[in-house]
């Protein structure tokens, strides 16, 4: 499903960080493209540089060399066209559930009147199952509810892109599976171009059009895998033979990269 126009393009992207022992190359000459309304998952060993690449798309960092473009234009900084779901959610603790969702709509970039804000809040609270908690403080919410709130807050400003960094990593298996289905459901209603970082091979297959497998640091592209299953997808997909084959293929790649990483750190310490 790589038919739509290119939205996010990584063009020979390299990133290095200054360290005590000189510059450390983290991302090494990565090129690929994410197309309109495509769901791309990025998977790879821990510490390889996945968050780093996403930070560049989000506009928090600049490439050391190469470029990342959005609709052909360079990225100047963070903006409401790209909704970011952080691993630690970043729910504002001093605002209620509803105020969190409305936050983006009170800013100059996307300001809406009270009536529209109310309507948007109601809509996403209903969609995310938060209606009963409109006026609750975030500290009263469970992990899954915080996750849904983060998603609702990002959706409220109508981003075209969704950048998610291990969004379901902290959830238990049942909640995680429910959140995956909810995400697919929401995306079916309001299509977005999605980049998702995950450590779960199953999650990557279940959700994505394509999976980008990254190598150990300095990270390069190991393989880009097309996921052939049509949407809407249901839980039963997990049981299919094709799913199983794809899973073992992706898992092998990831395990190999973990092995490379382990060897590297052995060499460093030895």
């Amino acid at each position: 499903m790589t038919t739509g126009r290119v939205r996010i393009a990584f063009d020979r992207l390299s990133v290095s960080f200054p360290t005590a022992r000189g510059r450390m190359l983290v991302v090494d000459d990565v090129s690929y493209a994410i197309h309109d309304r495509e769901f791309v998952s990025v998977i790879g060993p821990s510490g390889c540089g996945k968050t780093t690449t996403m930070n560049i798309v989000a506009g928090f960092m600049q490439p050391s060399s190469g470029a990342v473009t959005l609709d052909g234009k360079p990225i100047a900084g963070p903006g409401p066209d790209r909704g970011v779901i952080f691993q630690e959610y970043g729910i504002f603790p001093w605002l209620t559930v509803k105020q969190n969702i409305a936050f983006g709509l009170t800013l100059g970039a996307n300001r809406q009147g009270a009536a529209v804000r109310e309507e948007v809040c109601q809509r996403y609270m209903r969609l995310m199952g938060l209606s009963d908690f409109a006026d609750a403080w975030p500290r009263m919410l469970s992990g899954g509810m915080r996750q849904r709130l983060a998603l609702a807050r990002a959706y409220a400003v109508k981003p075209q892109f969704l950048l998610m960094d291990e969004p379901f990593g902290a959830l238990d298996a049942q909640t995680r599976s429910a959140m995956q289905d909810l995400l697919l459901q929401v995306l079916a209603a309001e299509g977005k171009t999605v980049m998702l970082i995950t450590h779960s091979v199953e999650e990557a297959i279940y959700l994505s059009n394509r999976i980008v497998v990254m190598t150990a640091r300095p990270t390069r592209i190991r393989e880009i895998i097309d996921v052939p299953f049509a949407y809407p997808r249901t839980d039963a997909l997990h049981e299919s033979k094709e799913f199983g084959e794809l899973r073992s293929h992706v898992r092998d790649l990831v395990m190999q990269e973990y092995a490379v990483q382990a060897k590297q750190s052995e060499n460093v310490s030895g």
Partner: protein, 249 residues
């Protein structure tokens, strides 16, 4: 009902212990006036100089703390937010904070005399350094994730300041105020002990030179209760302003 009983219980216990000490014969009863003697003296003094003493003392504390906090909030804010500035300024702040304000009283008397200005200066000093540390420690703990989230939702620098940083700073501001109040109150009495005609410290000092133990007790108890009331009031304010927090302070 139960709650009231629980709140009163420790006070009653203290009162009993006080009577017990007086009548036990462990100490010379003349050196420990009974609670009811102190109460009688309190009523007497309330018709005399005590209201003015209380007024003077509380007013000094308020002026000093307000001046101190008004400066401590922006300074603590800048130090908390800009790590590089903090690295250089932190030792200086800690140097001055480590000096007990009481030790500076003689110097302040030399420079500012013995009138109101001198006391205000001491209290300002005490509350500024107490407040600024709480403030910047608090601000520097604020997680940068909220700023990042706000940016991805389209916030400008000014919007981030007003809608993210200020709300997160409010609890630290209130804590700084509480700490400053405690420190200022302790310092005030010390400064009044040394040089003042009015105020609770002066009351105690005068009574001491005439060996009027009951008046000393009245003074001490007033100091304790006023500090307690101020703290309670601030805690109530805190609860109102930062109800989003689980526990306050």
């Amino acid at each position: 009902m139960r709650r009231t009983a629980l709140i009163l219980a420790p006070w009653l216990l203290l009162l009993c212990a006080w009577y017990a000490l007086h009548y036990s014969g462990l100490v010379n009863p003349a050196l420990v006036p009974t609670p009811h003697e102190v109460a009688v003296r309190f009523v007497e003094l309330m018709r005399d100089r005590l209201p003015l003493d209380i007024l003077m003392s509380t007013r000094r504390v308020f002026v000093g703390v307000i001046c101190g906090i008004v400066l401590a909030v922006p300074v603590g804010f800048v130090l908390g937010w800009y790590r590089t500035i903090r690295t250089f300024i932190d030792p200086v702040i800690n140097f001055f904070r480590a000096l007990p304000p009481i030790a500076l009283i003689p110097l302040v008397i030399v420079y500012f005399g013995v009138d109101e200005l001198a006391k205000t200066v001491i209290l300002f000093y005490a509350s500024f350094f107490a407040g600024v540390i709480v403030m910047y420690e608090g601000i520097s703990q604020i997680s940068p994730i909220y700023v990042r989230v706000a940016r991805t939702l389209g916030a400008t620098d000014f919007e981030i300041f007003r809608k993210v940083i200020v709300p997160m700073a409010v609890p630290h501001m209130l804590t700084a105020l509480r700490v400053a109040l405690g420190v200022a109150w302790a310092t005030l009495v010390a400064s009044e002990l040394i040089a003042a005609q009015q105020g609770l410290g002066a009351l105690i000092q005068n009574a001491g030179s005439f060996f009027q133990l009951d008046i000393i007790y009245v003074g001490i108890i007033c100091i304790g209760f006023i500090a307690l009331l101020m703290d309670l009031a601030l805690r109530m304010a805190t609860r109102r302003f930062v109800s989003w927090q689980e526990r306050i302070v």
